[in-house]
């Protein structure tokens, strides 16, 4: 079965929408169990879409972005996989095998994008300085647009040009560059924390920074446990001040004049 450019374009649009849904909206229409049938509809084979969607849902089960880390991309995996299964008639399992490299490539691409979007934050800082609320909004809309367009092409290209050509394109990118940007993404929060600390850190809070670090680094405690313990410390401090004041008051009363 041949795919028309219009079909490819519509699938690209579907990727655009699902791509946004993966991080925004989060209705989860981007999950295979929904996306599969939609691909089926576009390609005129709903039934196969449903079945491939069901299969892929199980394959991607438990894979969701945790703390910003990307698993192999579920959307491109589903669109490419389902399209392949419908056009060639292979089983869903075989389609997964074809789809996974694309899913992994897009996983890298997204990681890259999230690194590359970092500089936009200073634009936002400037807007904030001017209380320019419109600017903030535009940056967010722009972010959506970039993400969506990226997804569009990730779906459109392999489908329109066929797997081999698309694969060659992916391989053309220098691996070190991609990996390097991925590494940079892992380090990037340090910049965010540094800016945060500029606002919030005062000398008298240094000890608490140390305690939080020691608890996370050496004791390997999760953030929740550390936040609980910190809350306890804060409450102790909070209540002690009352006492001090009270003590002082009492002392003065006792001493009379």
């Amino acid at each position: 079965m041949e795919i028309s450019i219009i079909q490819a374009f519509i699938l690209g649009l579907l990727a655009f929408i699902a791509g946004l849904d993966l991080f925004n909206g989060l209705t989860h229409m981007h999950r295979p169990v929904v996306l599969g049938p939609l691909v089926g509809l576009v390609l005129g084979d709903l039934q196969t879409g449903i079945l491939v969607g069901g299969t892929l849902e199980l394959v991607w089960m438990g894979l969701a972005p945790l703390a910003g880390a990307q698993p192999p991309n579920v959307i491109i995996g589903t669109i490419v996989g389902a399209t392949f299964a419908i056009t060639t008639g292979v089983s869903a399992e075989v389609a997964v095998g074809i789809a996974v490299p694309f899913a992994v490539a897009v996983q890298m691409g997204i990681t890259l994008l999230f690194s590359a979007m970092s500089p936009m934050m200073s634009k936002c800082d400037d807007f904030a300085d001017d209380a320019n609320t419109r600017g903030i909004e535009l940056v967010n809309y722009f972010g959506l647009l970039v993400l969506g367009v990226f997804y569009f092409f990730c779906a459109f290209l392999p489908i329109y040009f066929g797997a081999e050509h698309a694969g060659a394109f992916v391989e053309a990118l220098p691996k070190n560059l991609i990996d390097g940007l991925g590494v940079a993404g892992g380090i990037m929060p340090a910049v965010g924390f540094a800016i945060l600390m500029k606002i919030m850190m005062k000398n008298i809070y240094i000890p608490y920074f140390i305690l939080g670090f020691v608890a996370a680094a050496w004791l390997q405690l999760p953030i929740l446990a550390i936040a609980c313990a910190a809350l306890a410390m804060a409450l102790i401090d909070f209540m002690k001040k009352d006492e001090t004041a009270a003590t002082v008051k009492n002392e003065e009363l006792d001493d009379g004049i």
Partner: protein
């Protein structure tokens, strides 16, 4: 923090000029916030994660609260700080924070509270929604789908989103009401609440540095027969999360020295790529 003038400047940047309680937020305002919270990750990036989308979400409310333009700017600047939490639980944090904004707490108190409440919710939400709700709904949907029924897709979509939107809107209103109720208490103890919030906030930041910043070196020193792996043989023996700590402190020093975030990001990106090419990252 050095000289006194610096300290004054800090206080200026920290306290709102207009200290009168801000305008009340209506149900419609809170609903608007909840709708906009759908774009929490619109400008997601690894430097500040959800900061941009977070600000986007609470922006209309902030405008209503801070009629003084300087205050609005101060507030917006504060809200551009690093943030990461679970998208379904974010409206809970938003509700509380907006109540604090209304009562015109210091920027740093508000930010400390935000970090302290939002950060642990990240892991909690992931466990509850990504690792529990999603597989359950997905499993049921896939089961039906594999029997050839389109009901799988539909049921999945409905089940999942009933929970999703109930939480998103419910938590928003609940948290805002809770926060507003606390306003008099907070107002009466401004300084003490600020101090307590700072303790929790900063402790969590210390923990986040060790947890979120992923930086390790692949450097190996080959000396004849001996191979010394810098990360596992040296740094890990010294202390865990050593490089993340050092890198964060360097960034902090540079920020204080006036480097712009863009410069730091570029620096980090170049370092990442160069490190990969040179083989030490």
């Amino acid at each position: 923090m050095g000289s006194n003038t610096e300290k004054n400047a800090l206080i200026d940047a920290n306290e709102y000029e207009d200290q009168s309680i801000g305008a009340e937020l209506t149900t419609a305002d809170i609903n608007k916030m909840a709708w906009r919270s759908l774009l929490l990750q619109a400008s997601f990036n690894y430097e500040r994660m959800q900061a941009g989308g977070w600000l986007y979400g609470i922006l209309p409310a902030l405008k209503k609260i801070h009629t003084n333009k300087n205050d609005l700017a101060k507030s917006m600047k504060g809200h551009m700080g690093f943030l990461n939490t679970h998208p379904f639980l974010v409206t809970f944090v938003m509700g509380i924070i907006l109540a604090m904004e209304r009562s015109k707490q210091d920027v740093s108190s508000i930010q400390n509270t935000k970090i302290a409440v939002a950060s642990p919710l990240g892991g909690i939400g992931d466990a509850m929604f990504w690792l529990t709700l999603l597989p359950i709904c997905g499993g049921i949907g896939a089961d039906l789908a594999l029997r050839g029924s389109i009901m799988g897709a539909i049921l999945f979509f409905i089940m999942f989103n009933v929970v999703h939107f109930t939480l998103r809107f419910g938590l928003a209103h609940y948290a805002y009401r809770m926060g507003v109720k606390a306003i008099p208490l907070i107002k009466a103890n401004t300084k003490k609440v600020a101090h307590a919030a700072a303790i929790v906030g900063i402790t969590v930041i210390g923990a986040l540095v060790a947890t979120y910043v992923r930086l390790s070196t692949t450097l190996e020193i080959n000396a004849g027969d001996a191979v010394v792996k810098l990360q596992t043989d040296v740094l890990d023996k010294l202390m865990p999360a050593f490089l993340p700590l050092v890198y964060t402190l360097i960034m902090y020093a540079l920020v204080k020295r006036g480097w712009s975030p863009v410069k730091l990001i570029m620096f980090t990106m170049v370092l990442g790529v160069a490190g990969k090419y040179a083989g030490f990252l």
